[in-house]
């Protein structure tokens, strides 16, 4: 069992690739994506309009070592600044067999 950080991001689906770019270049070992989710935040309701993909969110999370976590967060900040979205971090233990 190892103490790790979980970083969770909710962002408009149009910007998913920007987030994944950051994760890849900052050395995250993996990530999980749940597509087509909805929600409400500062930028209004994302209702999941069926015609455009523009009003839909994606939920991405990654588990990583604390030192990588801070690197990821530094690199995520400008993306979040340009494109909006929510990012949270919490503590988890990674179960390794």
């Amino acid at each position: 069992m190892k103490a790790m950080k979980k970083i969770e991001i909710i962002i408009n689906s149009t910007y998913l690739s920007k987030i994944i770019e950051v994760l890849e270049k900052t050395g995250s070992t993996g990530y999980t994506v749940i597509k087509d989710i909805v929600g409400k935040g500062e930028r209004g309701i994302m209702r999941g309009d069926e015609i455009t993909d523009v009003f839909k969110n994606n939920y991405i999370f990654t588990i990583c070592a604390p030192e990588i976590a801070s690197k990821i967060i530094e690199n995520l900040k400008p993306v979040l600044k340009s494109f909006g979205g929510v990012c949270i971090m919490s503590d988890v233990s990674w179960i390794k067999y």
């Binding site: 910007y15 309009d49 069926e50 523009v54 340009s82």
Partner: protein, 325 residues
């Protein structure tokens, strides 16, 4: 324009399905056409008109009619976003002006498709190459919009436009790609090809359009609630600007000698506004603009206006003008 022709346009199941969708939102019925069904209908419609257009082209080859329509198409797809931008700047900031200008400079495939069924109902026709024109007119507005942005916006360094990404978004978005691809397939496989798939891509056309418009109605209905945030100027813009574009389009069509059916379809392309490809591109390239504005205008104002009143209006005008000369 006679009321009769408006009635004739609206009183068909396909257009009524749109309004049924709108009403369902007002009555809060929870009616919903969940993803990916709308994507399927839209893909179906694009493939259908692509294959059919390609097949029509293969029958007649490159005729003078084809050549005649190219110049006005390019002209309009470059000019509309420019004059739209300067009109919009009177009231809005650069970012939203660019996004709305690009939206109206591009086209709406479903408006085109609905216009096609309207025309067919009247026993008229249009050339298969008009589908190619539609494809041609989808992308330039995005590029023009972003050029305007580069000229007029003072952005920070790190948010500079990534032109490679922009061109990809503009010319290789799924709908442009599928239209070009199926046009070529329809063209190369000709009559045999078309016959083999027409039970799906011809016979089911109106039914699938009915499903799609039902969904469009629901989505438009949901956005109607946001009209008050948008303000009177933009609401009027969303109705008057398409009419202006249609008129300019009709003028060009007459000038370049298009036949009646083509002129009608061309005017509809000029009048229509994008709500799939352009919003996606704008979200990426102009995140500062508010998608609630440009999507709502296109989907909840211009689209319903065009398919209900716009089509018979443009058609009546063309009828009159072409009869004269």
């Amino acid at each position: 324009m006679s009321l009769e022709i408006i009635a004739q346009n609206i009183m068909n199941p396909v257009v009524l399905m749109f309004f049924l969708g709108v009403i369902s939102v007002f009555l809060k019925t929870d009616l919903d056409i969940p993803q990916p069904l709308p994507k399927f209908f839209s893909l179906y419609l694009l493939i259908s008109i692509g294959l059919h257009g390609g097949y029509e082209l293969s029958k007649n080859g490159i005729t003078p009619d084809v050549v005649r329509v190219i110049i006005p198409s390019i002209l309009m797809s470059v000019c509309v976003p420019i004059y739209a931008f300067f009109i919009l700047r009177l009231k809005l900031d650069v970012y939203n002006s660019v996004a709305i200008a690009a939206t109206y400079g591009s086209i709406s495939a479903v408006t085109f498709i609905t216009a096609g069924t309207f025309l067919k109902e009247l026993g008229e026709n249009y050339g298969g190459y008009m589908v190619a024109m539609m494809t041609l007119m989808e992308s330039p507005a995005i590029i023009v919009g972003l050029i305007l942005l580069t000229i007029f916006a003072k952005r920070e360094k790190n948010s500079r436009t990534n032109w490679i990404e922009v061109f990809r978004e503009a010319f290789l978005n799924p709908s442009v790609f599928i239209l070009i691809g199926t046009l070529i397939i329809g063209f190369t496989t000709g009559e045999n090809g078309w016959k083999s798939v027409s039970p799906v891509f011809e016979n089911l056309f109106r039914g699938m359009l009915a499903f799609f418009l039902l969904d469009m109605g629901i989505v438009a209905g949901r956005r109607l609630g946001e009209l008050k945030k948008i303000g009177v100027f933009l609401i009027i813009f969303g109705i008057v600007f398409p009419i202006i574009n249609a008129l300019v389009g009709i003028g060009l069509a007459k000038l370049f000698g298009l036949n009646k059916g083509d002129a009608f379809m061309f005017s509809v392309l000029c009048a229509s506004a994008s709500y799939i490809a352009v919003p996606a591109a704008m979200r990426i390239s102009v995140p500062e603009a508010n998608p609630s504005i440009y999507v709502t205008m296109s989907l909840a104002i211009t689209f319903p206006f065009n398919i209900s009143i716009g089509l018979p209006l443009y058609y009546t005008l063309i009828e009159k003008i072409w009869r004269v000369g």
